[in-house]
């Protein structure tokens, strides 16, 4: 397997979004076909806080489906008429060029164009004026555009992730770009924070906070920081999960004894019980059509993944291999279940094809301390936490396990990643 290391440029230091934890991205594995693409520096990007072309190159390289070709010294922008013959001679299949310009009102105008070098034609381009604080986002959107034009799949480079760090006796809930950069603190607490969950519109994070010496669910507006308690009933309140329409939250409550699943409105009202067992029922997860809720129950002895209709009713077991299966996540097309299985002393990320009854699970990793899988909104990547080199780290993997990217924090332990939706 090829291993590449990409160091994200220190140009981040000038950004108002500078991360407390700097991530390096390590990639292992390559796609079946890699498109050689040239993305020279955007005209005047050196004058801006972000090196836009570097972010685009890193995004595309991390997907495993592109191989950026070195183009030092080339000066091109979106108005160029590139000599296709020259580029073909350099074994380049696609070319993107652009410019960055500061406008009088303080915004930044970012433009680019994409060419199919093999066919010798323009594929398209975009221009957008953004707040300087959104320059990283503009770069990610360019990477999404290129990715979609050349692979046919929707890119997730402009989505966000949330995760929890622990260090120095403090816990933080952070929001970062999908590449792990630009991390910002959403919540800073002396007590544990667990189980963050993005709302479907990407504006809020639900999470469990122990600040009042018990598990309480909050929802917090990411942009404003305003937060509201969702569930603070007697006992423990945890494992929040949003319905796809954002109107309902499923959670694990012990208010009636034990740990059982309940549904409530997004403001925490209209609480109704969903499961009734004398076992542990927890970790609810809505199917993409909102009609089914997957969850973990040990009603059969050890924890396994089950599912139940969101309106209540019969419970059906889903996982049968192994004696301990937890942390279910469902892909956007509803066909793949990701979860963590315990094998001996190891906890391993696995997937199960839900559309093929009786199929066997697939292991995706070589590590033995995997936790908290979460699908990217295009269903093609999974982010998870694991332990490597003595640290808690975040990883992404393709569904076949062949291409992995490691987001390595240089500071505190990172855990509990959750991938946000499209449409920031």
């Amino acid at each position: 397997m090829l291993t590449r290391r990409t160091l994200i440029a220190a140009g981040l230091a000038g950004s108002s979004l500078s991360a407390f934890a700097q991530f390096r991205v390590e990639i292992s594995g390559v796609g079946a076909t890699q498109v050689p693409i040239a993305i020279p520096r955007f005209r005047d990007e050196d004058k801006a806080a972000q090196q836009v072309s570097a972010i685009v190159r890193a995004d595309l390289e991390r997907s495993g489906f592109f191989r950026p070709v070195e183009v030092n010294g080339t000066a091109l922008d979106e108005t160029a008429k590139p000599a296709m013959g020259e580029w073909r001679a350099r074994s380049v299949d696609a070319l993107a060029a652009g410019s960055v310009q500061r406008l009088a009102d303080g915004r930044v105008d970012v433009r680019f164009k994409l060419w199919d070098v093999v066919k010798g034609s323009e594929l398209g381009g975009q221009a957008s004026a953004v707040d300087p604080a959104d320059l990283r986002l503009a770069a990610h959107r360019i990477a999404d555009y290129i990715y979609e034009k050349l692979t046919g799949d929707k890119g997730v480079f402009s989505t966000r992730i949330a995760y929890v760090t622990r260090g120095g006796g403090r816990y933080t809930l952070r929001v970062a770009d999908a590449d792990g950069e630009g991390g910002q603190v959403a919540l800073n607490s002396p007590e544990p924070i667990i189980s963050p969950a993005w709302s479907p519109d990407g504006r809020e994070l639900a999470y469990v906070s122990f600040e009042s010496q018990k598990a309480v669910i909050y929802a917090q507006d990411v942009m404003s920081g305003k937060r509201r308690p969702i569930a603070n009933f007697r006992g423990s309140n945890s494992a929040p999960a949003w319905s796809p329409d954002g109107g309902t939250i499923a959670a694990t409550l012990s208010r009636e004894g034990g740990s059982q699943l309940f549904l409530m409105d997004r403001n925490g009202g209209n609480v109704r019980r969903l499961t009734s067992s004398s076992a542990i029922d927890t970790e609810p997860c809505f199917s993409p059509d909102g009609r089914t809720i997957y969850f973990v129950s040990d009603r059969g002895g050890g924890p396994q993944v089950y599912r139940v209709a969101a309106g209540g009713g019969g419970v059906e077991r889903v996982t049968f291999a192994g004696s301990y299966n937890i942390s279910p996540a469902i892909s956007a097309d509803g066909r793949t279940l990701a979860y963590v299985t315990r094998q001996g002393n190891s906890f391993k990320l696995q997937t199960l094809d839900l559309s093929t009854p009786g199929s066997q699970p697939t292991s995706l990793t070589d590590t033995s301390d995997d936790e908290s899988p979460s699908f990217a909104p295009n269903g093609k990547l999974i982010i998870y936490a694991t332990r490597a080199g003595g640290r808690d780290v975040l990883m992404t993997t393709t569904l076949d396990g062949r291409i992995k990217a490691r987001l390595v924090s240089t500071t505190a332990d990172v855990r509990e990643p959750t991938w946000g939706p499209y449409g920031r």
């Binding site: 006992g235 694990t252 906890f347």
Partner: protein, 184 residues
């Protein structure tokens, strides 16, 4: 002031203890130090909390933890129950702990206690949160059977988030699989 009796130090005597240590510091004579050898001995027998023995390092400080309020009033009443792996059964060896706390609660109906359940570090966070909840509730049930009122008790869980002991061996794990009674 040098005390020679080993006494169990009540929390309320913190100020007196501090004063005693400081007084002890000022009254110890330094040896003539011609050879540069470090001063070693002090008469500190029995002046530490819980009976620190002679030969203790000069820099030692014994902490007093005020974070669990009101527990000082409980005196010597044990307030922890430990559990076997994957289990929430209250073992017989903790019967006296349950009895003692049930007695305290049933004697004073205004007394309130939070029972905090914990697990060791192995396994998923949410599943362990639920396991810890089961441990707390098992203790609550045992207390209720011996006369404590349910309205006096709340069972909560920290899962694996708040270990009592760091470490990844059975010795540490055994000390983390617990339920603690915290009087409010």
């Amino acid at each position: 002031m040098n005390t020679t009796s080993k006494t169990h130090l009540p929390k309320i005597a913190l100020a007196a203890f501090a004063a005693a240590v400081l007084a002890g510091c000022s009254s110890v004579p330094l040896d003539e130090n011609k050879g540069g050898a470090p001063v070693e001995s002090r008469n500190t027998t029995g002046s530490g909390a819980g009976g620190a023995s002679s030969g203790t390092a000069q820099s030692k400080v014994t902490p007093v933890d005020l974070s669990k309020t009101d527990n000082g009033a409980m005196g010597n009443l044990p307030r922890v129950v430990f559990f076997d792996f994957d289990s929430y059964v209250v073992k017989d060896e903790f019967r006296s702990t349950i009895e003692g706390n049930a007695k305290l609660l049933s004697a004073d109906r205004k007394k309130k206690v939070t029972i905090e359940g914990h697990t060791d570090e192995r396994g998923g966070r949410e599943y362990n949160l639920a396991l810890g909840q089961k441990r707390a509730e098992a203790v609550q049930k045992a207390l209720a059977l011996l006369g404590a009122g349910n309205e006096q008790m709340e069972s909560v869980s920290f899962g694996k988030e708040r270990p009592a002991v760091q470490g990844s061996d059975e010795a540490a794990w055994a000390k983390n699989r617990r339920a603690e009674l915290v009087y409010r």
